[in-house]
């Protein structure tokens, strides 16, 4: 399927290379500008999410949270980032320098590449491929490696155990989230992210696919929480047992990259969930259609939905206790995976007999 949607990023490159007539150099300039937009988004969204996490945590514990630096404490995370920037970088004595330093680059690159395939609004997607969902799940499986490499390269037993646990956990739960995504793909009939959003114009997939879609959504949220290493699945960095897990030996910006990437991964999982189940950037019931530029309203609805989903994930953190490693594996292999497999069969039957709305 050749996608002929509006794409503002492609227009930008086209503008520099053809309209201005800069040819090859213009193309490069366009790509660089797009990359800068994404990297700015990466850091700003990361900082905002850290702030949000602290405010939400405070809200659930009847505290105020950060409130001194800037209005409502909004500049707190920027102050934190500046502090991390000025810190000295130091590691263990006999660490493997190559593995140790390449680990956080891999995690950032994997997160940025996954971000590039997410449609933020109408025409606002940098890498609009016909296999968007599959690309995101493929690239996020590369992120696991950075944790394994960083855990080994740090030359610390806690880091290594944290890295191994993380590898186990992420590989296991990738299966379940993959099955949940496949359930929706079965209904949509396409792997393209923009295609999936466009198909939900009349009704979002969570309602359209009623029972199997709801089960898939629950599985996706559980597996997504586990994949982003968040409580109740934060065994890879269980503070009480392992110090800080795989990033124990990272300081300053090395730590900050892992920290930011973790929050961006949460954002990616929420964005994929919103795109698959809640219609992405489409307005609910089309209430803002024709009220102005569609891409601007799209951005508004997309970020509102993602915010609600992120709030849900943060809510989990202060509601459920941490699982033990055997409970974690039991949950995945004995419950989520069989239910996911059964669910996909149910969905196939529903789609075949036209039982979806």
């Amino acid at each position: 399927m050749i996608l002929t949607h509006i794409n503002y990023f492609a227009d930008l490159i086209n503008y520099f290379s053809n309209t201005l007539g800069w040819g090859f150099g213009g193309k490069i300039l366009g790509y660089v500008i797009i990359a800068l937009i994404y990297m700015t988004f990466f850091s700003v969204a990361g900082l905002l999410l850290v702030y949000l996490e602290r405010r939400v945590a405070a809200f659930f514990q009847l505290r105020l949270g950060p409130n001194r630096v800037g209005p409502w404490g909004l500049l707190q995370t920027i102050a934190d980032a500046l502090k991390l920037l000025t810190k000295e970088l130091f590691g263990t004595d006999r660490k493997d320098n190559l593995l140790y330093h390449s680990a956080y680059y891999i995690v950032i690159i994997a997160s940025l590449m996954a971000l590039s395939a997410i449609p933020f609004s109408k025409g606002l997607v940098a890498f609009d491929v016909n296999i968007g969902v599959f690309f995101i799940s493929a690239i996020s499986s590369v992120g696991v490696l950075s944790i394994l490499l960083g855990g080994w390269g740090s030359n610390n037993k806690y880091s290594m155990i944290g890295g191994m646990r993380s590898g186990l956990q992420m590989i296991s739960y990738e299966l379940s989230s993959g099955l949940a995504i496949l359930t929706i793909v079965l209904m949509a009939g396409t792997l393209s992210m923009t295609g999936i959003v466009e198909q939900q114009r009349d009704m979002i997939f969570l309602l359209k696919g009623h029972i199997p879609a709801l089960i898939a959504f629950i599985i996706f949220v559980i597996a997504g929480t586990a994949e982003s290493n968040r409580t109740p699945f934060d065994l890879p960095e269980g503070e009480a047992e392992l110090g800080a897990g795989y990033h124990t030996e990272y300081s300053g910006m090395g730590f900050a990259w892992f920290f930011l990437a973790e929050f961006i991964n949460m954002f990616i999982i929420s964005a994929v969930g919103v795109t698959l189940f809640f219609g992405g950037w489409l307005a609910p019931f089309g209430i803002t259609d024709g009220l102005g530029p569609e891409w601007a309203w799209g951005l508004f609805w997309f970020f509102l939905k993602v915010f609600l989903m992120i709030f849900l994930l943060m809510w989990f953190r202060w509601t459920f206790p941490r699982l033990r490693i055997d409970q974690l594996l039991t949950l995945e292999w004995k419950y989520l995976l069989p239910i996911g497999l059964l669910n996909i069969i149910i969905m196939a039957v529903f789609v075949y007999f036209g039982l979806i709305l």
């Binding site: 399927m1 390449s102 690309f135 590369v142 394994l148």
Partner: protein, 173 residues
């Protein structure tokens, strides 16, 4: 533009592939291999064969590499550099590699059936799936089924190996 990217990727693949077999640190070899696999998926994306590129990423870079890392961790003395290999052990692998390379190059240049296309055709996932399940000419249903049976056998084997100790212990009691 495509040419430049291709040459960058090709240089990355060749140099890191050589590094991954010559390095003395086993864990680094897996990292180099990871970069080789990522660059190969880059070549697929360059050809706009996005499905294959994503498969390369998820199966090789994401799946097989993690298995490699776990396998490397099970080997003896991974923290220490590997010992030197005697030169006589190197002769046969070098000869085999060179022979394979020569054979591949000969096969590519003597094959006349390739019609290079200027425009990349985007293969959809639907087309891949239909070919995989078609039993007409050019279909792949037989290899597909054979691989399914192989995977099933592997899974049963893994369960048997994992359970063997438990069963032996039970029989002893």
């Amino acid at each position: 533009m495509e040419k430049i990217i291709f040459y960058i990727l090709a240089i990355v693949i060749i140099s890191l592939a050589i590094l991954s077999v010559t390095t003395k640190k086993l864990y680094r070899a897996t990292l180099y291999l990871l970069f080789v696999l990522l660059a190969i998926s880059g070549i697929y994306f360059l050809m706009e064969y996005n499905f294959m590129g994503a498969v390369q990423l998820s199966v090789y870079a994401g799946g097989v590499m993690v298995l490699f890392i776990y396998a490397v961790m099970l080997t003896d003395k991974i923290g220490k550099p590997l010992r030197d290999i005697p030169t006589k052990w190197k002769i046969v692998p070098v000869l085999v590699t060179m022979g394979t390379a020569a054979l591949s190059i000969y096969a590519i240049y003597s094959f006349q059936g390739i019609n290079a296309q200027n425009e990349a055709t985007i293969t959809s996932v639907g087309q891949v799936g239909e070919k995989l399940l078609s039993y007409k000419a050019g279909g792949y249903v037989l290899p597909f089924e054979v691989i399914s049976i192989l995977l099933l056998a592997v899974m049963i084997g893994a369960i048997v190996i994992a359970k063997a100790k438990k069963i032996i212990n039970q029989e002893k009691n």
